[in-house]
């Protein structure tokens, strides 16, 4: 049975318009004008218990609006959301006990308190017995490797350390579902990898359902088995990561370094992406032509070095965004 059910969800915002300059500012005071922005249009999906789902899309696609409706921060205009049998618009408090949220660009920790005091605070607001909170803190201290800074005020922590603490604060009440809105934003590659490992471990050890938005394709590739792509407020793709790669990874990139210059033109199934004389980059549509055809076209005797790779997932996703616009 689905743990999250979203049906025909829509949300429209009223945005104030202002013409340029001082006169525009005055006009906006005297006679304000508004435009309606349809942030989310009639979207539906279901998520099963224990799934790790990437909910992605370009900026302004409606990701955060959807997450905020699911976490009872925003009220939908139309449609319904059912999370473990609860309606976020009516059962806000009950739902709070079942879910955890991390918004990478916002802070929920008390900056002048230490992570330890913060965790005690979050435990108390979720009505957890003090002895149980202590046990949970010990558990997370080990799991998330917090020993080094658990007694340092949050304001003195690095961004990576703070995000780790933000995640722990969201997990202290053992939520069944964790909503992560760009949790790795602004982090360096090592810390990102660290956070991903922790998210994976959390899903494995606590069977926490994870709903993740991120612009970082590595987050999606390494964590999620299912991808929902949203653009212009609509779901444009809802598929497994495996299918996404299978259906969309039908192009190969061939980078070749040549002994001598050769002149090539686009052919059916083979596109010249870059031609710098001795260095060539071709894209091969393997549904139409084979990689061997491309190599033959280059003349194998003239090749010094060659590299054959898949089109990066990032490009695939960008193409899906563009094609559905």
């Amino acid at each position: 049975m689905a743990i999250i059910e979203v049906k025909k969800l829509s949300k429209t915002f009223k945005v104030k318009l202002k013409e340029k300059g001082l006169i525009g500012s005055l006009k906006a005071i005297i006679k304000p004008k508004y435009k309606k922005v349809e942030a989310v249009k009639n979207i539906s999906f279901e998520i099963e218990k224990g799934e790790v789902v990437a909910f992605i899309g370009p900026n302004g696609a409606g990701k955060s609006t959807t997450i905020k409706m699911m976490t009872s921060i925003l009220y939908p205009d139309k449609g319904s959301i059912n999370i473990m049998g609860l309606d976020p618009t009516k059962d806000r408090k009950k739902l709070a006990y079942q879910i955890g949220t991390v918004f990478g660009q916002k802070e929920q920790l008390w900056t002048h308190l230490t992570p330890y005091d913060n965790f005690k605070f979050f435990g108390a607001i979720y009505d957890i017995n003090p002895s149980v909170i202590e046990k949970k803190i010990d558990e997370f201290r080990e799991l998330f490797e917090l020993d080094e800074f658990i007694n340092t005020p949050v304001r003195n922590l690095s961004l990576g350390q703070r995000i780790r603490c933000e995640i722990v604060a969201s997990l202290i009440h053992e939520p069944k579902i964790l909503f992560l809105d760009e949790p790795t934003i602004g982090l360096d590659p090592v810390v990102k990898e660290n956070i991903r490992t922790l998210i994976k471990r959390m899903n494995k050890e606590y069977k926490t359902t994870i709903f993740l938005t991120s612009h970082d394709v590595s987050d999606i590739e390494k964590l999620c088995k299912r991808v929902i792509i949203i653009n212009n407020g609509q779901v444009v793709l809802d598929d497994s990561m495996e299918n996404l790669k299978y259906h969309y990874l039908n192009k190969k990139l061939v980078d070749a370094k040549m002994k001598e210059k050769i002149n090539l033109d686009d052919e059916e199934g083979i596109t010249i992406l870059k031609d710098k004389g001795y260095n060539l980059k071709l894209e091969v549509d393997i549904t139409k032509r084979s990689v061997a055809d491309a190599i033959k076209l280059l003349d194998p005797d003239k090749i010094i070095d060659i590299n054959i790779s898949n089109v990066p997932l990032e490009d695939i996703i960008s193409n899906i965004y563009k094609n559905k616009e």
Partner: protein, 263 residues
């Protein structure tokens, strides 16, 4: 209830990290009192003279209490915090937690002014002794009652300012409303007791928030009697329930309109 005590406790612990800020505020507080002390010296040719039932010493203690209540409150910061949370989108983390947002605002603001309440009260009493030379006629019980009523006055002020802050859900910037409220309290409820105003205004002011947030506690401190104490206490309890209901109403309406910036 336990979680709200924890919210207040966490706020106190947080404020302890920059406790010296409180002492900085003593400078402004002292300057205002020096100015008012000189004003009352000018008004009272004889310190034993009574103007509208108040001696000069009573007037100085009166203004010390009303100024204390206003300085401890720090209402401008309180009102701006909600507006900033709405504008920046930080409100998101406060409205999906298992507590009442109004209760959270009340508890965190009580925690916020708890240390100020202690330090400012001590400082204000020392300053009063310096200016006047002696305390008003209070025994331990009446002093405790005045402390409780002063605390309730602050609770009502917090709720008033929270209700103003919550208007940010509708108009984004509620600072003009706060400005009006602060000037109302400052002009009509801080410098002079209600008895100094024309009779028709006195009748209005006695039913206004000034009675419960500034005049009441200060009046009790300079001229304590149990009948006034009971009247003020009852009025404060009514105000607390009414203001809490008002905040909950505004929040309930406003939260449905919230438009978190950046998605």
């Amino acid at each position: 209830m336990k979680k709200y005590l924890f919210i207040a406790k966490s706020q106190i612990m947080s404020n302890m990290q920059y406790i010296t800020n409180i002492f900085g505020g003593f400078i402004g507080f002292t300057l205002i009192l020096i100015i008012l002390f000189n004003l009352y010296q000018y008004l009272y040719s004889d310190p034993n003279e009574l103007i509208n039932g108040y001696s000069m010493h009573q007037m100085i203690w009166y203004v010390i209490i009303t100024e204390l209540l206003w300085s401890i409150l720090g209402g401008s910061k309180m009102s701006k915090k909600i507006a900033n949370d709405v504008k920046s989108g930080n409100i998101t983390y406060n409205i999906n937690k298992p507590y009442s947002y109004v209760g959270y605002c009340l508890a965190s603001n009580i925690g916020d002014l708890f240390l100020k309440f202690i330090f400012y009260t001590i400082f204000g009493m020392v300053l009063g002794i310096f200016f006047v030379g002696h305390f008003p006629n209070l025994n331990i019980i009446s002093a405790l009652i005045v402390i409780v009523i002063s605390f309730l006055a602050l609770v009502i002020s917090i709720l008033f300012i929270t209700s103003i802050g919550l208007v940010s859900f509708f108009i984004e910037d509620a600072s003009p409303l706060y400005w009006l409220y602060s000037k109302f309290i400052l002009v009509l409820g801080t410098i002079f007791p209600i008895e100094f105003f024309p009779v028709f205004m006195q009748k209005i002011l006695i039913f206004s928030p000034i009675y419960v947030v500034s005049y009441g506690p200060a009046r009790l401190f300079v001229n304590f009697n149990y009948v006034d104490a009971i009247n003020i206490f009852c009025a404060q309890v009514i105000y607390i329930f009414a203001c809490y209901a008002l905040c909950s109403f505004i929040y309930g309406k406003g939260v449905k309109r919230i438009n978190v910036n950046g998605g």
